[in-house]
């Protein structure tokens, strides 16, 4: 049994949980729109089918990665995490700075409902099929990023199951809240979560890319926390700097 430091396991589980929270909220909005308009049976079928495909991906890809030499795996996953994490962080910075609009779950719910209503007018006979497929696509596409994060933060240090548990916990949390409120979860601070996940993934990417190249980070796992603090600080400072010109123009 490989013992894993909590300084690595904690951020890995946290990253999987928070990233899943963001993606599940997005998928939930579409599933709710489909279920409300077209009934829950085809929606549930589409959702379960997509979850099955995603679970299959983790089950198939996870053990396969265990066969790749650790340094090579850490390097490849580290580079992918850097690209993915910095991409999220860039978008979160632009949203925080007001350059691109925040994600609006109410607007997505309305748009998805309108699209389904339009489809209802055109193809009455295959409505259940369309509803199931819409739910399937939403859960599959949003879930792909979760699968990547679970595999990426989990595979390098034998944390696949804890990371998957973090993702599952997020799914259950959103499902429970969704059942209670029964409307789009518009009040989730999505950009703050995305900012946090982008920071964590970039920090993991930096750490593992370096480890893969044979770099001995000072403080070993503690370096992860330093990287996260640096990405957070630079991200917040950049968002703040990009926000200023708009305020001056507004005055």
């Amino acid at each position: 049994m490989v013992s894993v430091a909590w300084s690595v396991a904690g951020p890995a589980i946290g990253a999987a949980f928070l990233a899943s929270l963001v993606e599940v909220v997005e998928a939930f909005t579409i599933v709710l729109a489909v279920g409300t308009l077209r009934g829950w049976r085809p929606t549930a079928l589409g959702t379960v089918a997509a979850l099955a495909v995603l679970a299959l991906l983790i089950i198939l890809l996870g053990p396969l990665l265990d066969r790749v030499p650790l340094h090579l795996l850490q390097f490849i996953i580290g580079v992918l995490l850097l690209l993915f994490g910095m991409g999220w962080l860039r978008k979160a910075i632009l949203r925080a700075a007001g350059v691109i609009p925040l994600h609006d779950e109410d607007a997505i719910f309305a748009s998805e409902s309108a699209q389904l209503a339009e489809a209802a007018g055109q193809q009455r006979s295959s409505l259940d099929w369309i509803a199931g497929l819409t739910a399937f696509k939403a859960v599959l596409l949003e879930g792909l990023e979760v699968v990547f994060i679970v595999i990426a933060v989990g595979a390098g240090h034998g944390l696949l199951w804890p990371a998957a548990a973090g993702a599952l916990a997020a799914c259950l949390a959103i499902l429970a809240i969704g059942i209670i409120v029964h409307k789009p979860l518009a009040k989730v601070p999505e950009n703050t979560l995305k900012f946090g996940v982008g920071v964590m993934l970039s920090a993991f990417g930096m750490f593992w890319t370096g480890e893969g190249l044979g770099i001995d980070w000072p403080g070993q796992d503690i370096a992860l926390v330093v990287f996260a603090a640096l990405f957070l600080g630079v991200g917040l400072a950049t968002a703040s700097a990009l926000r200023r010109p708009t305020v001056e123009i507004a005055r």
């Binding site: 580079v79 992918l80 850097l82 690209l83 993915f84 910095m86 991409g87 962080l89 860039r90 978008k91 910075i93 632009l94 700075a97 350059v99 691109i100 497929l133 399937f136 696509k137 599959l140 596409l141 792909l144 990023e145 990547f148 970039s202 930096m206 890319t209 370096g210 190249l213 044979g214 770099i215 001995d216 980070w217 000072p218 990287f227 640096l230 990405f231 630079v234 991200g235 950049t238 968002a239 700097a241 990009l242 010109p245």
Partner: protein, 72 residues
């Protein structure tokens, strides 16, 4: 078939949202790999180049996109 195309687009989009950010990061990693593995430079120096380079790349990518959107 359209689902497969959308899945492929989603997968590509995960890493290629900003082509210049992706390219610069990959070039930076290649430079650091060259420094550490081929030229046998002190690994910590390579790590520093990677860290500072990534932070600079991130700031440049966000600033460039903000400029582009405000100009258009």
């Amino acid at each position: 078939m359209s689902i497969i195309v959308e899945v492929a687009k989603e997968l590509l989009g995960m890493f290629l949202a900003d082509a210049r950010l992706t390219t610069t990061t990959l070039v930076l990693v290649a430079i650091v790999a060259g420094l550490v593995l081929a030229l046998r430079v002190e690994t910590l120096l390579g790590g520093g180049v990677l860290l500072l380079g990534c932070l600079a790349t991130l700031v440049e990518a966000a600033a460039r996109e903000a400029r582009r959107r405000r100009c258009s």
